[in-house]
Symmetry: C2
Subunit: 255 residues, 2 copies
């Protein structure tokens, strides 16, 4: 491990990372380092540096969730420039993970602690035959959904609320479950519907449960107004299903 | 096998088929039926019908080549409507093959014999970090290519020529190797280049060799005018490399 803030030689890099989450147990390192994105990156960086390296991601995407631009920071005692670091990482990374940008940042930059917000997209196909080439990034839904009803419900979700009901956090979770959703946009193009969620931060499973609740509304199983009772209840049982991971993509992290 | 043109009950179906060629040994049935698209379709149709069924594809895509709209025809003695047949096929097909349209056609329609032409696209990425989500459909090329030089060469290829030099047909292949290319368009968007080829028909490996020759021209390894000597030579050695299959997609078949 590198002691933080010690040497003048230590560089602080910000990485933008793109990955297909299908083969992985999510971002966060677990026992078997080969099956997480963080573990894979740390394994390569540690080999490059000759000692253990820790990398900090802005968000812990779940198993099967994708990222177009996950952001991570890592401090390295290296003579590599940012461009050289990116090239070397891409040489060793598997084809389903890529570093798309790398910059040297001021010493105090931290990908998770400095993140101001995130944007996620959830994509689903609600009619016809799902596109074979997008099958790993779009969730197939068997019924046609009512986008107008979902939009009415989305309006009720926008803003600052206690989203405890819309998360899988433990009942005894003591930290604040208040979050702000700046934007919840629903756009249909052909047989594909894209839900864009932009906010200060999202609780465990929150995006997938929000979309699951909207989908139940779009399918006519519940009315848009049930959003309000679910929010007030703080009870997971009042919200909808957790959508499967493959439709979810971390699109951007804001600083 | 169904004897052709016998019963009033025999219906002739046209199928549009989309597939990700990565896991397959191409369209054409071989020994192990599970590893070809034709084999997979015939296996399911034969089980549905209770006897061997033969399906005819418009083009024999190679191992690893994709199709957005391969066209096939099949005669079946069935009470199924076209919509029912499509649903049933999609129920049993793996996630990387889908029937996107199905219509009943006049008795004489044959997907291969009646095809008037085909459109293929070859996609490559010649700069930056290739997009992780398109990695199976776009070929990564290490050098930046000169699109203008490739367009000059593409103009020389358009029209009716003997394309023997641009194919992997056996030297003793006796059939005509004259084909007409109606359009050879090269469009860059960002770091991706798309080659669109529309013509009456294409010889074995012809699209991949045409693109390989253009790529050598775009990389400055040969001049656009070498297209003329290659065409005249009828000699495979005078043309360029055969591009890898994953960038190639059969986009449409014309009737």
């Amino acid at each position: 491990m590198i002691a933080e803030g010690v040497a003048v030689d230590v560089k602080n890099f910000r990485l933008l990372i793109q990955y297909d989450g299908k083969r992985y147990n999510g971002w966060q390192r677990q026992g078997n380092t080969d099956r997480t994105i963080q573990g894979k990156l740390e394994q390569i960086l540690s080999r490059m540096m000759g000692h253990a390296v820790e990398i900090h991601g802005a968000g812990r995407t779940d198993a099967g969730v994708h990222a177009r631009a996950q952001t991570a920071s890592v401090k390295l005692n290296t003579e590599h420039t940012a461009a050289e670091l990116m090239d070397e990482l891409n040489t060793y990374l598997p084809a389903d993970i890529a570093v798309t940008a790398c910059d040297e940042m001021p010493e105090r930059f931290h990908a998770r602690l400095n993140a101001k917000g995130k944007r996620y997209c959830y994509r689903l196909c609600d009619g016809g035959v799902p596109d074979v080439f997008r099958r790993n990034y779009v969730c197939a839904w068997p019924e046609r959904l009512d986008v107008e009803a979902m939009r009415a419900a989305a309006e009720l979700l926008t803003g600052t609320h206690d989203f405890r009901a819309f998360s899988s956090v433990n009942r005894r979770f003591r930290k604040s479950t208040v979050r702000t959703i700046h934007e919840l946009r629903i756009v249909r193009s052909g047989q594909e519907i894209c839900f864009t969620l932009r906010g200060t931060g999202f609780l465990y499973h929150m995006v997938r449960i929000l979309v699951g609740t909207l989908v139940e509304i779009g399918a006519g199983q519940r009315g848009p107004e049930t959003i309000l009772t679910a929010l007030e209840s703080l009870d997971r049982q009042q919200a909808g299903i957790t959508m499967p991971p493959q439709g979810l993509m971390l699109e951007e992290v804001y600083y």
